[in-house]
């Protein structure tokens, strides 16, 4: 087909690949360190794995619960369901469950461990502020997250950070326990564990930054796929401007409640520009609008 080449953005792919590669290298470093520590290996893996798995497996329930979102039937929210119905048929994907969060912050999220267990959720504020076409654009963006399996990807990515955090804590703990170290071999162990501690702190910071970077690329990718699905990048851009413009005006105190959900949100619920872009889960509005503008040109070229 003539338009097949609009589907992939080479630069974006390269950056995502590099981020992913960096994460894999981190895994290798961590496991080397872990093997040196030896005893704690099983313990660390069980705890980390268990926490991560439940976070991943129950992602839909956790997200719905913490956002006070309720699943809605087609009778309760006919328009929302109709829009999702049509988008899913256009994209030939399973229809996720549909939920609404009764809060005024205009936002939307999609989560769930697999496309079959996905839930897509919009806040009341979003539905009140956007027109139907813009709402459709936002839902298309969220459906793209489902199609891209972003919950799984981000869980794996953030797993590295958790693993590093745990290792550093255990290292610290055992350093304190072994105290001054009486024998020569004891000294070596203490040194080794001090090293582990420093290394894993560094790794934790790097992993965190990389996870944030990956999250931003996934957002851009979802913007892209969503805009291609509805065929109108400009509508998604206008929805973004509406949502973000409104959000800047809402006082910070109201928004803090939902900060924990940032990674799965359409626009992050942080007021102001205080958070440096390096620590942000979402790309800046300018970057997203820029990418959409380029896509608009691409689609028409």
């Amino acid at each position: 087909m003539a338009d097949s080449k609009i589907e992939s953005d080479h630069g974006l792919n390269v950056r995502m690949f590099m981020t992913g590669l960096a994460l894999v290298i981190l895994y290798v470093i961590i496991f080397t360190v872990l093997l040196n520590v030896g005893v704690q290996l099983v313990f660390v893996i069980v705890i980390c794995g268990g926490l991560l798995f439940s976070q991943y497996y129950f992602s839909d329930k956790i997200a719905m619960f913490s956002m006070h979102a309720k699943e809605v039937t087609p009778a309760q929210e006919p328009k929302l369901h109709q829009i999702v119905d049509r988008l899913c048929l256009l994209a030939n994907m399973e229809k996720p469950r549909v939920g609404v969060a009764e809060m005024d912050i205009p936002n939307a999220f999609a989560t769930g461990r697999s496309p079959n267990h996905a839930v897509i959720c919009a806040t009341r504020g979003l539905m009140n502020r956007l027109n139907d076409e813009e709402l459709e654009a936002v839902l298309a963006h969220e459906l793209s997250h489902v199609a891209h399996r972003d919950v799984a990807i981000m869980t794996i990515a953030s797993g590295v950070g958790m693993l590093a955090g745990l290792v550093s804590r255990i290292a610290l703990w055992s350093t304190l326990l072994s105290g001054g170290g009486r024998s020569r071999s004891g000294n070596q162990i203490v040194l080794l564990e001090m090293l582990t501690f420093v290394v894993s702190i560094v790794i934790y910071v790097i992993a965190f930054l990389l996870t944030m970077a990956l999250s931003r690329y996934r957002e851009l990718a979802a913007d892209r796929s969503g805009a291609i699905l509805i065929g109108k990048p400009s509508v998604l851009a206008s929805a973004l401007v509406h949502v973000t413009g409104d959000m800047g005006r809402i006082p910070r105190t109201d928004l803090r409640k939902s900060e924990g959900m940032n990674a799965f949100f359409f626009a992050p619920a942080l007021a102001g520009n205080t958070a440096a872009s390096l620590f942000s889960t979402h790309p800046s509005l300018e970057k997203r609008l820029d990418a959409l503008k380029k896509l608009e040109v691409e689609l028409n070229g």
């Binding site: 589907e7 995502m16 048929l89 139907d132 796929s225 028409n300």
Partner: protein
Amino acid sequence: MGLRDTLFGRTKQVAPKLDGLFALPSAALTLESELDLVPSGNAGLCFKAGSGETTITTDDEIIALLNFDDKTGTVKVTTDDLGFKWLVVTDPELDGLVTRIHGANTTMVEHGLGPRLLCAVFGFVPKTPPGDGAVRMVYLLKQGTFYPFAPTGPNQRDNELELRVRSFVGDDLPMEKDLARWMALWNLPVS
């Protein structure tokens, strides 16, 4: 979706399945003999109009694009309340309707608009009114499957009649097995 698409966050655009349409005329015979339903002479094609040149914007351009053999029928374009465009075709012969809709599909695919196509709808009415009510046969272009849609009011549909239609034409047509995909098309411009 493949692993690489997942890793890189890409969605493949879905190409429509066009050929399933041609099963409709033989199913129409069954509909007439078993359920007393005959083609209404109306059909529609529902698609999502994009922005820009390759994705056409104005109605005139779409009609010009689809201006094929125009002896017996008419073609017009409307927009529904969800912003989807409908190409509405009239032709007394079902074969003619199917050919026109297929032609429209092919033209749109040739112009790179295949991923924008949602569904095609063919109207069926009782031969001896009032009968059991009118039924639209909806063809989902991405899935390549049919389902019946029998609206009875602004927000009501006759599920019993729809399931009866499925039981009769299930052998003739590729029916949509997932009932969740039997999308309601309220206020559709095809009678």
